[in-house]
Structure formats: structure tokens, C-alpha cells
Amino acid sequence: MSAFGETKLLIHQGIQTQNLDTAYLNQIFAMQVRKWPNGTPIHVFVFPSSSKLHRDFVVSHLNTQAHQLDRIWNRMLFTGTGKPPTVVNSENDMYLRILNTPGAIGYVSAAYPVKDVRVLGEKQK
């Protein structure tokens, strides 16, 4: 059990990458990396920035602050240089999106039951 935010990272089952360190994850959620090593486009799903689950995830897994990601996403969107992640509003919706979208990455709380998706631990460091 993580002492930090109790969240776990979910990835679509078709993605076999092993090497997801903090810097790489940070780049993925900042929408700077657009494809997985196998060429599949990355689809990022998040909860609303104001949710505690999101803020915990960002601090514990990405080693940054939610407001920093918000600024990066706002900048990309309103300057035409990128696309912000897709926002979902429930853990069930998050899980189904990860399950059904090739290349998807997201997170749920550690206690949320999932199957048929890749789970990458309580915390990457």
C-alpha cells in the first residue's frame, strides 16, 4: 500500500512496455509523447483536475502538481499545439475506457477492482 495517493496506473492490455519511469509518465500525461514504442497512438484519460483522485495521482506518480499539468494542457489547447487528455467522471467509466481503447492509459484508486487491463503498481518511482 502506498503512503502517497492510493491510486494505480492502468494501461490497455495491448501495450507491453515495461519501462515507465516518472519522467516518461510525466511526458505522456503532459501529452508530449504521442505514441507507444510499438507505434500505437497513446490515449490519455484523467479525472477532473479538481478531484482528489487526480491530484493524488499527479503528485504520487508524476511527481508534479495538478496545476502544472492544467497549465500545460490549457496552453496546448488554446495555442493549437496539442490536445488535452479526455476527462472522465467515474472510475467505472475510466476502467471501461482503458479496457476498450487500444493505447489507453489512466488510473483508478488502488482499491478499485479491475481485470483484463495492465496494472502498474501503486506507485512508480
Binding site: 519522467a23 508534479t64 495538478a66 495555442t79
Partner: protein, 412 residues
């Protein structure tokens, strides 16, 4: 057809019945924002005279769409209406409209190109200076992003190459832009002469821009460093002829060419090289930002046929602290200075235009999803960044001037 603020406002409200972005399908989304401000500027006219006693003629509306046709190919565009009393009339303009092709991408690097009208990434804030939610406070720092060249430097019609690289967990991003941009002639004229010229319009300006950002792995990715270089050239076209200017001189009072040189302009060109150095450090809920601008401008003027050249070096910098005291509240303090290096260009109505020094304090409260209210007070000495408008020369400008802003913003 000219669309005005009101039509755009209605359109924005009509298509945003819910708080989130409008997802037309999996690959197309529409976003937007509205910001309405009240500005009180008791000492100097701020973008017009309406704010002297408090004005609500300060409004920004944007509508934005993008479509991902394939994972590598996107279209994106934004229209913007910006009303600022006398200095901006709220007409809708195309802020950017571009096609973006990702040429190559792997787990540690990417490279792509955009074509069309692209926003210019200069310093941390130029590209988002019109986006209320992305600005620190009501406006971007005046010392670096002053109004004189705002329209000319906002975007480029041309090509933009971009890339990212992860080098041993150090993140590098870069952009290279080349193209042209139409220039708001009046801003150029007020910057160069302090007055509008009798005849002439600034021509489209060529722009070359390099921007590099670096996030080192040390310090937990909390430090961001940037450098931006911009090379541009602004030239007045269709000025009065030398004969016309000489004729005007003959009927003018003696010495008028020295006191009112703007009346006898027969040619003017500025070659400008901007260098902006940027640093930002995040520590927990604190964000420390500083930028420095060095502007090297070569001015080539001609007054009634007589050439007059000079070289002007301008410097600006600011230090800014933001404190995110709660997830919904931010506080801001900023100190800044700008020295335009125009020593001796005395202008009757505005004797303090050479420089600016100022403090800004402010706060923002995101009181509901997508809604925020921003308050700001700025205390200034010198008028280097006081926004100009046609008619400002009829005022006598004060050396010390403050302005106060309260703004309400919505974004979806």
C-alpha cells in the same frame, strides 16, 4: 461580413450548455472562453479614457476547435474577439488556424510541422497572452509583453517546425517558425514616434523565431529554462512624398520638424532582434518565474527626405511569485522594469515614456468548475508599457499611475 462581440457571445453560450468541452465525435472537440473585466485607472488613460472612472469595456471571447483526422494529422483553429476600450474594438479575428503533421515519434523524441497561422512561442507567455485561464493574473507581465509589438508578434502566417527529446530524463522542446505577419500600424507609429504619422501604413513583417525549452532531470523536473530569439523587420509603406513633406514644412512654424517630427515622416523601418530568457521554478505550491528581454532595434527613419538612423537597446525583466494556497486559490506578486532606451526622445504629452517600473499584486479564485474571478492591482512609475490608443496624445500623462482590475472568466 464583420462579426462582433455580441454575436460571438451568443454563439459561445448557445453551444456550451454543459460545462465540459463539446465532443462532436471521438476526434473533434470545441472549447472556448469568455472573460469580462472591470478596469479602473484613475491616473492615466488605460487603452482609452473610459477606465478613468471605471470601465467594463474590457472583454475577451474565444472559440476553439480541433480535429484529429489521423493520429498524426490534426487541424486546429481559434477565433478571438478582444475589446479593450479604444485600443481594440472587439472585431473577430482568426487567432490561429493550422494543420499539424507529426512526422516522427518514438518513446523519447518527436518531430513535426505545422503550417498556417501559428501562435508565436516567445518567452513563457506570448502565445497565451489572450487566454485568461493561462495568464498569471489579469495580464501577462508588461515589462516583457508590452503592447507596442503585440499584434505583430502574436502569430505568424507560415511554417512551424517543432520537436521534443528526452535526453537521460532531461526534457528538451524546440520550435522554429518562419513566415510573415500583418502589423497594426498604429502601435508601430506610437512606438516609433509617439504619435500617428500623417500618412503611411506598416507593411507585413517577416518573422523568424527560435524557441528552446529545457527541463533538467535534477531538481525533480521543477525547473524550466527557456530562450526565444525573434528576428523581424517593420517598414512603413506609402508615406507622404518628400515633396509633400517639404511643402508642409514651409507652411509650418519654425522648428516644427524638431518638435513634431512625426508630421514629416517620409520613410521608417525598424529591424528588431528580440532575445528572451526565461526561468521558472516550482516548489510545492509556489511558482517562481523570471524573464529577461533584450531588444536590439535599428531604426532607419527619413524626415522630409533627410535620413535619421539610430540604434536602440531595450531591456526588461520581472520577478514573479505565485502561491497556490488552495487548489482553487492563487495569489500573485510581481515586480518588473522596462527601459526602452529611447533617451532624449522627449514627447510633450508623455515625458516618462522611456521607462516603466511597477508592482503588481493579485489573486484568483476558481469558485466553481470552469469559473474564476481574478483581481489585480498594479502600481507603476513611468509609462513605457501604458497601452496607447489613437487620441492618447491629447492627454497629459502622469509619471505615477495605478490601475485596478476585477475580471470574471468562464472556460469550457
Amino acid at each position: 461580413m464583420r462579426i462582433h462581440t455580441k454575436e460571438l457571445l451568443v454563439l459561445a453560450l448557445l453551444i456550451s450548455p454543459q460545462a465540459n468541452a463539446i465532443e462532436l465525435n471521438n476526434t473533434t472537440q470545441i472549447h472556448g472562453f469568455l472573460s469580462q473585466a472591470a478596469v479602473y485607472s484613475p491616473d492615466n488613460p488605460y487603452a482609452g479614457t473610459d477606465a478613468d472612472n471605471g470601465s467594463v469595456k474590457f472583454r475577451e471571447i474565444g472559440l476553439n476547435g480541433y480535429s484529429e483526422l489521423t493520429p498524426d494529422f490534426r487541424l486546429a483553429g481559434q477565433i478571438l474577439s478582444r475589446q479593450r476600450d479604444e485600443s481594440d474594438d472587439g472585431d473577430v479575428r482568426v487567432d490561429f488556424l493550422l494543420a499539424d503533421y507529426l512526422v516522427w515519434s518514438d518513446h523519447s523524441s518527436s518531430f513535426g510541422l505545422r503550417a498556417g497561422r501559428v501562435k508565436n512561442t516567445i518567452g513563457f507567455y506570448n502565445s497565451i497572452r489572450d487566454i485568461p485561464s493561462a495568464r498569471p493574473g489579469y495580464n501577462v507581465p508588461d515589462s516583457i509583453y508590452f503592447d507596442a509589438f503585440r499584434d505583430s508578434l502574436l502569430s505568424t502566417d507560415g511554417i512551424n517546425l517543432y520537436g521534443t527529446a528526452l535526453l537521460d530524463n532531461n526534457q528538451l522542446t524546440w520550435e522554429l517558425t518562419a513566415g510573415r505577419k500583418d502589423v497594426k500600424s498604429e502601435d508601430f507609429e506610437y512606438f516609433a514616434f509617439g504619435y500617428p504619422v500623417r500618412k503611411g501604413e506598416a507593411d507585413d513583417a517577416p518573422i523568424y523565431l527560435l524557441n528552446v525549452n529545457f527541463v533538467p532531470d535534477i531538481l525533480n523536473n521543477d525547473l524550466r529554462l527557456g530562450i526565444s530569439l525573434v528576428d523581424t523587420e517593420i517598414e512603413l509603406e506609402n508615406t507622404q512624398s518628400v515633396a509633400e513633406a517639404q511643402m508642409a514644412l514651409m507652411t509650418a512654424p519654425p522648428g516644427d520638424a524638431l518638435t513634431n517630427p512625426h508630421l514629416y515622416v517620409t520613410g521608417a523601418k525598424i529591424e528588431a532582434l528580440y532575445a528572451t530568457f526565461s526561468a521558472q521554478y516550482n516548489y510545492k505550491n509556489w511558482i517562481f518565474t523570471s524573464e529577461y528581454l533584450h531588444l536590439n532595434a535599428k531604426f532607419m527613419g527619413e524626415f522630409a527626405g533627410m535620413p535619421a538612423n539610430n540604434r536602440q537597446k531595450s531591456h526588461g525583466y520581472y520577478f514573479q511569485v505565485e502561491w497556490l494556497s488552495t487548489p482553487n486559490t492563487t495569489w500573485l506578486a510581481r515586480y518588473e522594469e522596462l527601459d526602452l532606451g529611447t533617451n532624449g526622445s522627449e514627447i510633450n504629452y508623455n515625458p516618462h515614456r522611456d521607462y516603466g517600473k511597477g508592482w503588481t499584486v493579485g489573486g484568483r479564485w476558481m469558485f466553481a468548475d470552469n469559473w474564476s474571478i481574478t483581481g489585480q492591482a498594479s502600481f507603476n512609475e513611468g509609462t513605457a508599457w501604458l497601452p496607447s490608443y489613437r487620441g492618447i496624445e491629447e492627454k497629459q500623462l502622469q509619471k505615477y499611475w495605478n490601475y485596478y482590475v476585477l475580471s470574471l472568466s468562464y472556460q469550457f
